[in-house]
């Protein structure tokens, strides 16, 4: 029956041609070399030069991974939201923005996953359990699932534009959850109108704020085992 006209197949994506030529430019190479050097320094600093913590001993070094990963995820999600907005509100709804949004969300999900994994390992070391039900951890988990949902929506059928519009709307709604995660500790505290008994001293202040806030909402017996 229907024979396909060549014009019909012209729009189908052609197989990516394997290319020997690199896409790099002088500038990107310089940036790359800079990154590798900086990373080397960071690894050396984080694992070797910085002193171990008084209470958490060597395990405090996890912090150097833990916080950057979640901030990277935040960044990725913000990029998703911004590109979504650019897609929706620019005149020429360019699919480039949509692709940027999708790629960025994938990166973000990967990094939240790392935060969750590393965080729970750390939790095992410091609290003795992998997970506890406090505001920040829960909101982080919700953030994770929300963006999994976002990625699922991107896989729905339909035309490119439809998919792009749908996921752009979702990407802009979902980003609201970042402040929710970031301020969760504070919000929770004010909403619960509970005084916190966290008053750790010295260089643990920073770390302690998270630990104690975490434990405040759950069993006191599980609170910071450090010290």
């Amino acid at each position: 029956m229907t024979t396909i006209d060549p014009a019909r197949t012209e729009l189908q994506p052609s197989e990516p041609q394997p290319s020997r030529r690199s896409t790099g430019t002088r500038a990107t190479r310089l940036v790359g070399i800079g990154c590798i050097t900086a990373m080397g320094w960071l690894v050396a600093f984080g694992l070797g030069f910085s002193p171990a913590d008084r209470d958490q001993k060597e395990s405090v070094r996890i912090l150097y991974v833990h916080v950057p990963t979640i901030w990277l995820a935040y960044l990725a999600f913000v990029v998703t939201a911004v590109s979504s907005g650019l897609y929706l509100f620019t005149k020429k709804q360019s699919l480039g923005w949509d692709r940027a949004a999708g790629a960025s969300a994938e990166i973000g999900v990967a990094f939240v996953a790392v935060t969750l994994a590393v965080g729970s390992l750390w939790g095992r070391l410091t609290w003795g359990v992998f997970w506890q039900w406090d505001a920040r951890l829960t909101t982080t988990a919700l953030l994770f699932v929300t963006y999994i949902g976002y990625l699922a929506v991107r896989r729905l059928g339909g035309s490119h534009q439809q998919r792009a519009k749908r996921s752009a709307v979702l990407g802009m709604i979902a980003v609201v959850e970042i402040p929710l995660v970031h301020f969760s500790v504070k919000m929770w505290r004010s909403l619960l109108a509970e005084a916190l008994v966290a008053n750790l001293d010295g260089d643990l202040r920073w770390t302690g704020s998270c630990c104690s806030a975490s434990s405040s909402a759950s069993s006191p017996s599980r609170s910071c085992t450090s010290g």
């Binding site: 229907t2 006209d5 014009a7 019909r8 012209e10 729009l11 189908q12 035309s159 534009q161 439809q162």
Partner: protein
């Protein structure tokens, strides 16, 4: 229809439908791969072509249900890519599905679709009578109707909408002999009073007699100007 531009304001001069090298993509597949078509007011154009040629895709595109991937599509003077919202109130589509609420009765269905465009009770009743679903069937839930009765109800909803551009996807399928005659009379009358009608059909004799022009869709392409009769 008050917030949308009133029908008269859309009564532009010049052709009602103009497709210029239009491409529409389903998933990855260019189901419409370069369509050229110009339809004047009052015409009844038959779209024919083999299964999978792209007739349904063409109609859905004109109804604003599919994005225009390339080329320009103009309906009633509005550009489909940018002014879709303005086009829709003037367009009526009968698709492969009927678009009925199966738990509601025939009357309630026609009422709902009619009232959203501000049709009066009389107009609604007239539409039902026109398609022969006004009497015994009026208070039966649509779920219980036979296939042809559902199709008739769907057509009654369409008639109640008083669209300017009618897009019909195999309207004769499932109708009995009387229904076909009623439908043809309805379409001829609508076209006579200024509506523009696109009909996709495989029943070439029946639809061919009705149409003023017939256009062939092959492998997603519409190029022939069509045979004027």
């Amino acid at each position: 229809m008050s917030p949308a531009p009133s029908p008269s304001s859309a009564t532009v001069d010049g052709p009602v439908i103009v497709l210029d090298d239009v491409v529409a993509v389903l998933g990855q597949f260019p189901a419409l791969a370069g369509a050229f078509l110009t339809v004047e007011r009052g015409e009844i154009v038959l779209l024919r072509g083999p299964n999978g040629a792209g007739k349904t895709t063409l109609l859905r595109l004109c109804a604003g249900l599919l994005p225009v991937e390339r080329g320009t599509a103009t309906i009633l003077g509005f550009d489909l890519s940018t002014q879709r919202e303005l086009v829709r109130p003037h367009v009526g589509l009968l698709g492969h599905q009927n678009g009925l609420y199966l738990d509601l009765s025939v009357r309630e269905n026609v009422n709902f679709w009619g009232r959203t465009v501000g049709a009066s009770t009389d107009e609604i009743h007239a539409a039902m009578a026109r398609m022969g679903v006004a009497e015994r069937l009026a208070d039966i839930p649509c779920r219980k109707l036979s296939a042809g009765q559902k199709r008739r109800t769907s057509l009654a909803c369409l008639v109640a909408r008083r669209a300017q551009v009618w897009l019909l996807d195999e309207p004769h399928a499932g109708l009995d002999a009387t229904g076909r005659d009623e439908l043809d009379a309805t379409l001829a009358q609508a076209a006579g009073s200024g509506a523009t009608i696109l009909v996709a059909s495989h029943e070439l004799e029946r639809a061919g007699n009705l149409a003023t022009r017939s256009v062939e869709v092959i492998a997603g392409q519409v190029t022939a100007l069509g045979d004027k009769k």
